[in-house]
């Protein structure tokens, strides 16, 4: 039975991570930035699962479970921050909030 080589899986995870990173760097809409963060977290989880499948151990999947938990908490807080930002500035553009009041 042909098993997927671990290198290919890790390369796919790296490519997905780079796409997410490009999204964070390029997009100015804050919803897309949060979405790209989600893509990057998912790519990290993919790398963990590929490694876990390579060594036939459950630890990779356990780590994906923790990453998923963290992603859920991060998304909830991030989205409520986005709602607050939209209420205050009526905009989702990150350029609208680049001034600090210090």
């Amino acid at each position: 039975m042909a098993v997927v080589p671990a290198e290919i899986g890790l390369i796919v995870a790296g490519l997905l991570f780079c796409v997410g990173l490009a999204g964070v760097l390029v997009r100015r809409n804050i919803i897309f930035i949060l979405l790209s963060l989600e893509i990057m977290l998912n790519a990290c989880g993919l790398a963990f699962v590929v490694a876990g499948a390579h060594w036939r151990q459950p630890d990779g999947q356990v780590m994906y479970f923790f990453i998923l938990t963290m992603a859920a908490a991060e998304t909830a807080v991030g989205l409520s921050l986005i709602l607050q930002m939209y209420r205050r500035f009526s905009s989702l553009d990150t350029h609208a909030i680049n001034k600090m009041r210090g």
Binding site: V4, I8, L35, A72, A73, R87
Partner: protein, 166 residues
């Protein structure tokens, strides 16, 4: 089985690229759901059915629904009905639908060809994962539950009307 992995990997990368280049947030979310489903098929082929179910239920199911709710809340306005009508045009949903159909064909193919549904010998099933989670990783599970509680409270506090108005 390997070819199924390659096809879904290619679909995942293409769907992610399309997701970050869309102008409309709902279209981007549709493509991101496709990317997550492709990741789920990859996990399934890698022999991790528990995580494959988890990514479909929690990631594509719950987290993306949160995103969709927020996008819909931000879209409320007089011209949202026109936008709604525009988003029902075929060229908005034909791409994600095509990717999803390809993924389900792949999944059906791999399930029908191998009765267990996973590559032989590579499977780490849900029982092993559960024993690891509630054995050596028990403290981590407790911490994860506390993190979720903190996320819940934080989202509730930040999402209220008029919090911290100066």
């Amino acid at each position: 089985m390997t070819i199924v992995f390659y096809i879904s990997a290619a679909l995942a990368i293409v769907a992610t690229l399309l997701a970050i280049t869309r102008a409309n947030a709902v279209h981007a979310l549709l493509y991101f759901i496709c990317s997550l489903l492709a990741t789920g098929v990859m996990f399934f082929v890698l022999g991790a059915p528990f995580v494959a179910a988890l990514v479909v239920i929690v990631n594509a199911g719950a987290i993306i629904v949160l995103f969709v709710f927020v996008v819909m809340m931000l879209n409320v306005g007089p011209d949202s009905a026109d936008r709604e009508r525009a988003s029902l045009r075929p060229r908005a949903w034909i791409g994600p639908a095509l990717i999803s159909v390809l993924l389900i064909v792949e999944l059906a193919h791999s399930v029908l060809r191998h009765q267990t549904g996973t590559t032989a010998g590579a499977a780490v099933d849900a029982k092993q994962v559960g024993m690891a989670l509630f054995g050596p990783y028990l403290l981590g599970v407790e911490l994860a539950s506390m993190l979720l509680l903190a996320g819940l409270l934080g989202a509730y506090h930040l999402g209220r009307e008029g919090t911290g108005r100066s």
